[in-house]
């Protein structure tokens, strides 16, 4: 099944991505996914499928530091986000959630709901209906966190490796 693109505008904030009233009570990944984008687009959580992508305007994820905003989108099955720009804490949180987020104003604008979008993080290339867009690939240490599937796995592997080295 083809992936779908969810298109949103500027300044999508963390309160509408994952409302504050759930931040201390909703922790189960499936339940978090059910509330993703609840106050902006109630259709999102009902219809989102694994592999879908989000294209948005500037300052996506502004507001609170709550990482559940990034995690809820990841748990909902979103494979990556292309936006004109991201708010800084949200951007760090996407890396830590293992959810690739690429800033590209032109590409974000070019993406339509039925667009075919392909992302190559390693080469820094993005294709929208065949049209290519380039971006600076992430530095190695950020790629390492993304490849590990997020910060939890990354730190876990690092700590276990350090312990094993010490044990030897």
């Amino acid at each position: 099944m083809a992936s779908r693109t969810w298109i949103y505008g500027d300044d999508v904030n963390t309160d509408v991505i994952f409302p504050g009233k759930y931040t201390y009570t909703v922790t189960d990944p499936a339940e978090m996914a059910e509330h993703a984008l609840e106050d902006l687009d109630p259709d999102f959580s009902k219809n989102v499928k694994p592999g879908d992508i989000i294209a948005a305007g500037k300052n996506f994820g502004c507001g609170s530091s709550r990482e559940q905003a990034a995690f809820a989108l990841k748990h909902a099955g979103v494979s990556f986000i292309i936006a004109a720009s991201f708010a800084r804490i949200f951007f760090r949180n996407t890396i830590n959630a293992g959810l690739p987020a690429v800033e590209h104003p032109q590409a974000a604008r070019a993406i339509k709901q039925d667009s075919d979008v392909k992302l190559d993080l390693v080469s820094g290339e993005l294709y929208v209906d065949g049209a290519g867009f380039r971006f600076a690939p992430f530095p190695t240490r950020i790629m390492d966190i993304l490849s590990a599937g997020g910060l939890v796995n990354y730190v876990k592997t690092t700590l276990l490796r350090a312990r094993n080295t010490k044990a030897r």
Partner: protein
């Protein structure tokens, strides 16, 4: 070679380098790590990372404030988990529910220091730049990772220098200045960047007012807000500082990415209208809008000066019939001072509900949630849809003077 900005100096020092450039990624060891009710979630992530002991429990500062006392069983369990974690890890800097809001309690206890690198799992951690610290918000997993490893990567931000010249005359306050700047530059006007506030109006501000500017820097998207430390800062730190510190100040020939200037004397009372913080207008343009609730408090405007202004306006008056006024002192210390000064009695006589120090309804967890169709005017820093617990309510943001004046009128009203 040009000079260095404040963030470049602090991050170079913490990374053990002589010089860093904007855009450079450095590995640093923060001085203090602040977390609040999200400590329970962080401790679970910490365990999921297979970490066992916090690298240095003395660097952790844990303050319960977001939903205190617990509103329900889940929040109660959350707090219980945190208390157990604090005991098992030997975290001595723990402030349980009686103390107040993290961004008030941290400086009151001398952790916010010039030149210090403070990371907090809360976006308004930028507040501590008012004391000359480099203070930024991070997510929960990231906090768990620093607890485990002691280090974190940070990208050195370029700096925007915002000069506010002229004089601040009542009823214009630091909040009006902050809202005006956000209205001008937008909610992403300082995204990824450091903001340095300076100029006559800023150097004339109290520490409390500087905290308003740095707190609101988060709403410009800034990585950190900062006011160069001076005599006012030193006076504010007297008898509090947790350790020795060095005043770190940008070199005059540093490479600032942008220089913005604002004239304090030309600014009228400002208000952020629903549902974004950069939807700012003069209060006069929305005067007459009916309000159901008014809120004075939060990490932006819950300090003694704010409560004093509210009390001076409300003294001998009554909150309008059909309007509820909630007042939350930012900390126990603020509450005690406000009681001693008689402000609390004046507010109670005027019909205010005094809530215990904490975040209250600001993030929609408890204590004053709005109903569909209701309108609230608040001294807080965010008015996003759903922010105060109801996605069909509206939140306006303004100064304590504007909120107090509006509470008496029952409709949005500019202060005299």
């Amino acid at each position: 070679m040009t000079g260095m900005t404040f963030p470049e100096k602090v991050l170079a020092t913490k990374a053990g380098l002589s010089r860093v450039e904007p855009g450079q990624i450095v590995t640093v060891s923060p001085d203090f790590l602040m977390s609040h009710d999200n400590t329970a979630a962080i401790s679970k992530t910490f365990t999921a990372m297979s970490a066992k002991r916090v690298f240095d429990p003395g660097k952790l500062v844990i303050i319960l404030d977001h939903c205190v006392p617990a509103a329900n069983e889940k929040h109660a369990q959350n707090h219980k988990t945190i208390r157990e974690f604090v005991r098992s890890q030997g975290v001595s800097n723990f402030f349980d529910i009686e103390h107040g809001i993290c961004h008030q309690v941290l400086p009151e206890n001398g952790f916010a220091l010039p030149g210090a690198l403070i990371l907090g799992s809360d976006s308004h951690t930028t507040t501590h730049g008012a004391f000359g610290a480099f203070a930024a918000g991070i997510g929960r997993s990231e906090m768990a990772s620093i607890w485990a490893t002691g280090t974190v990567w940070l990208k050195v931000p370029p700096t925007i220098r915002i000069e506010v010249f002229g004089r601040l005359t009542p009823p214009i306050s630091a909040k009006d200045i902050a809202l005006h700047i956000i209205g001008q530059i937008g909610a992403d006007g300082a995204n990824y960047r450091a903001v340095e506030f300076c100029g006559e109006a800023v150097s004339g501000m109290s520490v409390s007012e500087r905290m308003v500017l740095c707190n609101m820097a988060a709403e410009m998207g800034a990585k950190n807000g900062y006011v160069p430390p001076d005599e006012t800062t030193l006076a504010g730190l007297a008898g509090r500082a947790r350790h020795e510190f060095e005043m770190v100040i940008s070199d005059e020939d540093a490479d600032f990415q942008q220089l913005l200037t604002f004239d304090a004397s030309a600014i009228k009372p400002q208000i952020a209208c629903p549902h974004t913080v950069d939807n700012v207008r003069p209060v006069s343009e929305v005067a007459g809008t009916k309000i159901d609730q008014a809120l004075i408090g939060t990490c932006t405007n819950g300090r003694l000066e704010d409560i004093a202004i509210a009390a001076s306006i409300l003294m001998g008056k009554r909150v309008a019939v059909g309007t509820r006024l909630l007042v939350l002192p930012a900390s126990r210390a603020v509450y005690k001072e406000a009681l001693k000064a008689g402000y609390i009695a004046d507010l109670i006589d005027a019909g205010a509900v005094i809530l215990n120090p904490g975040c209250g309804p600001c993030l929609g967890a408890h204590e004053g949630i709005l109903a569909p169709g209701e309108v609230c005017i608040s001294t807080a820093n965010r008015n996003f849809k759903g922010r105060m617990g109801c996605n069909q309510a509206e939140v306006y943001l303004a100064s304590p003077a504007t909120v107090a004046t509006s509470a008496i009128a029952g409709v949005i009203t500019p202060p005299d």
